[in-house]
Symmetry: C2
Subunit: 265 residues, 2 copies
């Protein structure tokens, strides 16, 4: 039997230590690589941080599975037993350009069920946390259950790229939504944007393509406060697959889905 209380204490202590190392790294020069394309950056700190987590997990929980962005984890075909899904630095472009607005994201799944979700805003020392069925928190503050909001009163996160011609979505689909809502924002870190939705600071967030480590923790957080998590078609996310992601307050999620996303062009 997994001792979830002890596991939670371990994650927190590792996250705090990793955050300390990242903050310390700001005093030294970054070594930036480019991954699959020029905008997919990776730094020494991404790799060192994931390595730090995987070493600790393998030593303490040798029978757990690990799925990580930088490849120190396992090749997984299914979610069985306990799986850690880790993004050591979500928002690496912000990390490089801003040295803020990035997060450590860790989702811990038991089979296919998300049990613990952690999104740590390293610079502001804010830990967003949820335990399935036991509530969600920012540091020690409990996050209230999300209530619905109208389109006209909604502030949503959406990158400008998705309303210009791009190769992921017809850019005319989301334009009416951008015009109808109260405002749009874009922060450049899916984990932070999902933490913002969980905290009620954003009413919805839509993006075209995320990897499991980008949304694994955010899904647990948002569902724990009554928000809705799906892909752009309204289908359930599979924590092993890349996918579009669409999250939002209850009611608002349904309205955006039926009035904007499911409209035939």
């Amino acid at each position: 039997m997994t001792n979830w209380t002890e596991l939670d204490q371990n994650v927190r202590s590792w996250i705090k230590e990793a955050g300390e190392r990242i903050r310390h790294s700001f005093q030294t020069e970054l070594n930036i690589k480019t991954k699959s394309n020029r905008n997919d950056l990776v730094t020494d700190m991404d790799e060192a941080t994931e390595h730090y987590f995987t070493e600790n997990i393998r030593q303490t929980y040798p029978d757990h599975q690990i799925l990580g962005e930088e490849g120190y984890g396992d090749e997984l075909n299914e979610l069985s037993g306990i799986t850690w899904i880790i993004d050591p630095i979500d928002g690496t472009m912000n990390f490089v350009h801003q040295q803020r607005n990035f997060a450590i994201s860790i989702g811990i799944y038991d089979g296919s069920v998300g049990q613990l979700g952690y999104i740590y805003d390293v610079v502001h020392d804010e830990l967003y946390f949820a335990s399935k069925g036991k509530g969600a928190y920012m540091n020690d503050t409990k996050l209230p259950t999300l209530k619905s909001v109208s389109i006209a009163d909604a502030v949503i996160a959406l990158n400008a790229l998705w309303v210009t011609e791009n190769n992921r979505i017809d850019h005319t689909i989301l334009a009416p939504l951008v015009r109808d809502v109260r405002g749009t924002r874009s922060y450049g870190s899916a984990a932070m944007e999902m933490a913002y939705v969980a905290a009620g600071r954003l009413d919805s967030y839509l993006t075209m393509r995320l990897a499991p480590w980008d949304f694994a923790a955010g899904k647990i957080l948002i569902e724990e406060v009554g928000g809705v998590v799906s892909d752009l078609k309204g289908e359930t996310l599979n924590p092993l697959n890349k996918s579009s992601v669409f999250v939002g307050k209850p009611g608002l999620h349904e309205t955006i889905l039926t009035k904007y996303l499911k409209v035939k062009k």
Copy 2:
């Protein structure tokens, strides 16, 4: 003769006190009004904060002019003598929805020359400050002079609204820029976005219509670190007039202006 050192000390002490009052207000319910349209929110705190500044300024500097968003200042036709240009809460929508990502913005002009600029991120207790000819700072950290960057390596701030059909700009003008840059962001506070440009976290920021109190402080900050501040046509901003605003690193500003903004449609 104005004692600028003493004036600077006064501004800082008033900003800190106003920030304290705003943070304290988070514990009570906001009373939100709508100004000219449904998205132009104003709260008790906007008004109370501007009133607090204007009372202090009038008592200490009775011969100074004040231009403020909420109307406690003067009706001004020209910049003569010393003028305070104040936005008590820049990013009121963020203030209401997020209780973060808003700022107090104060620019102090001597004639038409910006002398002191202050942008205070209330929640994170970060004061961005510039004194003409004497450098710019975030709290005690000096901000380095901005260096140029290529379009492909640039992260710019731009609201998604400006690349969807809107009544301020042909939405196809900025779409190629969104595709060509490394990334776009949108934070919903012009003062914060200008502070980010001054701090080198964003390489450029473009928006269609700001009031003087939105850009008065940011202009001083950005120019002090070698950035370029203009409207979308590349013309100088007049701190008494509403205008589009386009700021950026040297070189990059020129490139965006000539390759994207001045292209005939």
